[in-house]
């Protein structure tokens, strides 16, 4: 229960780790769009190499990336197989009702590379950015939304508190489960319905204690003069440094590169 890879942050001292989290989030967003804008092999190759470069620069062990890829391996297989058999044009190879066409192969390659790129870039973000930095950056990025009466500070505070209490509640679940087992509760046998029912004696105490914790936390926050986001300052100021501007420049170059590849070079597919 406690082994849930929480936040997935991998502390290290790479350039990516030291980048401003806002730049990282914006770059990720740009990349997610970019991956789907690749219309020929040249631009796809450009995006894929950039992603590989990012992965290698993160100084996060590659096995962690493989781990996150493994989780979606099934989806990749299914989608690429579907694409493989649903191509149009002259079949290269055919048996029974399945026919493989050139466009099908191309589609399959495109889909596979795109999904892998998506997973790799987003893992790179979560591996190199601590959860607190992420919430912090999100709060600042969402700041303009306050004009639409969206309570940005409150949302960010909720995320901060959730991050703080998730490991605590996991620990507590463990404890309650042990306590109920010690009283003879059976949680491992029986069919699905029986097992879900067996969870009720765990969930009820968990909820009760979560509410008690919430109340106490509210008291503690009031004791520390918390009065919402107004008039609040932050200890850690995010400031864009040289490396942030450089990386934004690189991302812009890649975007231009992809556009040029798409427009100027012949589409192979």
């Amino acid at each position: 229960m406690r082994d849930i890879a929480f936040g997935q942050y991998y502390p290290a001292k790479s350039v990516l780790h030291r980048l401003d989290p806002r730049v990282k989030i914006l770059s990720l967003t740009a990349f997610l769009v970019l991956v789907f804008c690749t219309s020929n092999f040249y631009s796809l190759a450009l995006v894929a190499t950039t992603v590989l470069a990012i992965v290698l620069m993160s100084s996060v062990p590659l096995r962690l990336y493989f781990k996150s890829l493994k989780m979606i391996l099934f989806i990749v297989l299914i989608t690429s197989l579907l694409n493989l058999f649903y191509g149009t044009g002259d079949p290269i190879y055919q048996f029974w009702i399945f026919k493989v066409t050139l466009s099908g192969i191309y589609n399959a390659i495109f889909v596979t590379v795109r999904i892998i790129c998506l997973i790799l870039v987003s893992s790179a973000l979560t591996f190199t950015t601590s959860p607190t930095d992420l919430t912090d950056a999100l709060e600042r990025l969402m700041k303009p939304l306050t004009i639409f009466k969206i309570k940005v500070h409150e949302i960010a505070m909720m995320m901060t508190i959730a991050l703080r209490f998730v490991p605590l509640l996991l620990e507590e679940t463990d404890k309650i489960m042990s306590a109920q087992k010690a009283r003879g509760a059976d949680m491992e046998s029986g069919n699905l319905i029986a097992r879900v029912k067996a969870l009720i004696p765990v969930l009820i105490p968990l909820f009760v204690s979560a509410f008690r914790r919430a109340y106490e936390l509210a008291v503690a926050m009031e004791c520390r003069c918390y009065q919402g986001g107004q008039g609040r300052t932050r200890m850690k100021q995010l400031r864009l440094g040289a490396r942030d501007y450089v990386s934004m420049g690189v991302i812009l170059l890649v975007i231009c590169g992809v556009v040029l590849c798409n427009v100027l070079l012949p589409s192979v597919r």
Binding site: I161, E216, L217, A220, M221, R224, C225, R232, T233
Partner: protein, 285 residues
């Protein structure tokens, strides 16, 4: 100079106007409680669970307001002050469960939470956070997540979070109740150090008699009333009174008391082990 003056505080969790019932005597959590705390003093507030200690603590930083009677903090009447945060800036409250009072998932960010709420300049917050963490000896853990720390360490972080707001007084509501003996000792020595070296007024609420022994003054509460108060020596010498209210006394004090009852010649009851050893040696040799 009196920093806190409580005059005839009465409080009940039942709201008289709302429920339209007269508050029975038994429902009163605080019943005519008066005491003072001087600036720089270390006061221990003792009593059983449910005797009203925690309610007193919440009055001291205006989390609760008295139903009758007055509470002055630094000459400000907590009930008349419009902005409860002026009182809360001066009196910081540390609660019992360290897990439920830490907000952020990194130690230094949690300590910064209070000063951030006060709207202090980022550079100044950095200075205060570092100082507060050093004062409680947790500076090297500043980048750790709280759930990786021991109970005593977490409680010290909670104390740092309060002193980063630079209050003149900290109130600790049973800060050691959930800790193991080692954690208790860490927290207690931190509290004493803050009182001695930084001159912070300390009100320590506890039910461990051993912790009250080192205070300048002890106030004992029972059933929402003040039972007795005075120096630890004065209070713990009233063994019969404390026993009648089922309150403990420090082990060595009880030893001296029982020996005296048996006819051993002991003039004052010891509060500390070494003092007791010396006295016994005197008697025996």
């Amino acid at each position: 100079m009196e920093f806190i003056t409580a005059q005839n505080l009465t409080f009940s969790y039942i709201d008289e106007e709302q429920t339209q019932v007269n508050i029975e005597k038994a429902d009163k959590v605080l019943d005519d409680v008066s005491f003072t705390v001087k600036k720089g003093e270390f006061v221990a507030l003792l009593g059983h669970n449910g005797c009203g200690k925690s309610t007193v603590a919440k009055h001291l930083n205006a989390m609760l307001l008295p139903h009758s009677g007055k509470l002055y903090v630094n000459d400000i009447d907590t009930a008349l002050e419009d902005d409860e945060f002026t009182v809360r800036r001066m009196v910081g409250l540390v609660l019992q469960n360290p897990d439920n009072q830490l907000v952020a998932s990194i130690v230094e960010e949690d300590v910064a939470f209070g000063p951030e709420n006060l709207g202090i300049e980022p550079k100044e917050i950095r200075v205060r956070v570092d100082e507060a963490l050093k004062a409680v000896d947790m500076y090297e853990y500043r980048n750790q997540p709280p759930h990786k720390l021991s109970g005593g360490q977490k409680q010290r972080v909670a104390i740092a979070g309060i002193i980063a707001m630079e209050p003149s007084c900290i109130v600790l509501d049973e800060p050691t109740a959930m800790l193991d003996p080692k954690g208790r000792e860490e927290v207690m020595s931190t509290i004493k150090k803050l009182n001695r070296e930084k001159g912070i007024t300390v009100v320590l609420i506890t039910h461990y008699m051993d912790e009250a022994v080192d205070a300048d003054r002890v106030i004992v509460m029972d059933g929402g009333k003040i039972l007795t108060s005075g120096t630890p020596q004065e209070v713990f010498s009233q063994v019969e009174l404390l026993k009648r209210h089922r309150l403990d006394i420090p082990q060595v004090t009880e030893l001296c008391y029982k020996l005296r009852a048996c006819g051993v010649n002991i003039d004052t009851l010891s509060l500390h082990t070494d003092d007791c050893v010396n006295k016994l040696a005197e008697v025996l040799l």
